[in-house]
Subunit: 234 residues, 2 copies
């Protein structure tokens, strides 16, 4: 079911029909490659700052690529409305109570007219540090956020999320003095699970660190586009 | 599988064998009633302050009732170790990657010797604002925490959790000046979903508000014990 409320399109998505999500994710990734759509999957606990980080990324990259944002939540359209109010094409995906998105659900979101012609699509997954890590959405890269108030022990408790992330943003770094949080401990614990992970300290509130995040996305998108051209062009 | 590591018992719990979790939860609740064990299920996002809130509750109630704590996580034993180091009987439950506990898993935890003879057992569920709300653990009361850094829009996005909670703690209230968080908005949004919910503002860091939390637990346990005596004594 699709309806438009409060200016943003809301997709009510049911359970996916695909039995083999990994195969479906690979297929979707292949199609995105052909269409030149760089899809990133952004995951974190509730309230870590996903939406405000999306807005910061758009500030840096909005002039050089067309960005679309798909906001997933159990209910409400507040995030998509926030993003749309900043002038960025956005849709809200309702998961029907489900705790994660899979490739089939992601595909349904990508088919909405707001995402047409986008160079970079950011999928903001359901706020959840457990289940979204288990399902390949078809994204080219997985980004995750850990915010300072959540504590530096999270890689110990939710290892899979840190294992599947390509980029980890440590957000709310402006609050460091308020909390017992050692960034070096997170870096070490994340690297122990995932030696290839990139870690950037940011504050979505002040904007600190997002030039570096934009660089990371730009570089990874260029490398992916180049590989695409080489593989399709011979 | 059970093994003891770093001083705390770790239970590796697999998927429950019960098809009807609601029936199993009611059965467990009935057994706990007979044994006089007041079980509370504590839920929140990762890093909202569940473990530090448990320690604060134990400070207030530890002299008047025997308390046991069951810590559930995907991995690590850091929470159970923290609780045990404070002199409170504690076990760590590993969910085998699962995002929630059900009644069968809770039962397995309750059978561990550390929980024997406890008047109050606190089950710290997996840090997750989605899935734990869907599964009745057999607890007499559901407690949840929303911490200030997570934002006041969470009842809009995760309505089921706020609907099943009997008590909502708004934690990290000492950080209120650092964040755009309106406590009255949370109270209104939670009450709209659940008119019977009790809301208490706390800081597990400073201890503010936990005398009131202890009162709530004491009163609800007394009411439950009284109802128990009446129903069994005639």
């Amino acid at each position: 079911m699709i309806y438009i409320m409060d200016k943003v399109r809301i997709l009510e998505i049911g359970k996916s029909i695909y039995e083999n999500n990994d195969a479906e994710a690979d297929k979707l990734r292949g199609e995105l490659r052909e269409r030149g759509v760089f899809l990133v999957n952004l995951m974190s606990s509730p309230g870590s700052g996903k939406t405000s980080s999306v807005l910061r990324v758009a500030e840096h990259l909005g002039d050089e690529m067309k960005i679309g944002v798909m906001e997933a939540d159990i209910d409400s359209a507040v995030d998509a409305e926030t993003v749309a109010a900043a002038g960025i094409p956005a849709i809200q995906i309702h998961t029907g109570g489900m705790c994660h998105l899979d490739a089939g659900m992601t595909r349904q979101g990508l088919e909405s007219p707001e995402m047409a012609g986008c160079d970079l699509v950011i999928l903001e997954n359901v706020g959840n540090l457990v289940c979204p890590a288990e399902f390949d959405t078809g994204a080219v890269k997985n980004l995750m956020i850990l915010s300072v108030p959540e504590g530096d022990d999270k890689p110990l408790k939710y290892p899979l999320m840190f294992s599947v992330a390509d980029l980890l943003l440590i957000n709310k770094i402006d609050c460091l003095s308020m909390f017992d949080f050692v960034t070096e401990a997170v870096r070490e614990r994340a690297a122990a699970l995932n030696p290839d992970i990139t870690v950037i300290e940011v504050s979505a509130k002040t904007g600190e660190g997002f030039a570096q995040v934009a660089d990371w996305i730009r570089e990874n998108r260029e490398a992916w586009t180049q590989a695409r051209t080489l593989s399709s062009g011979g």
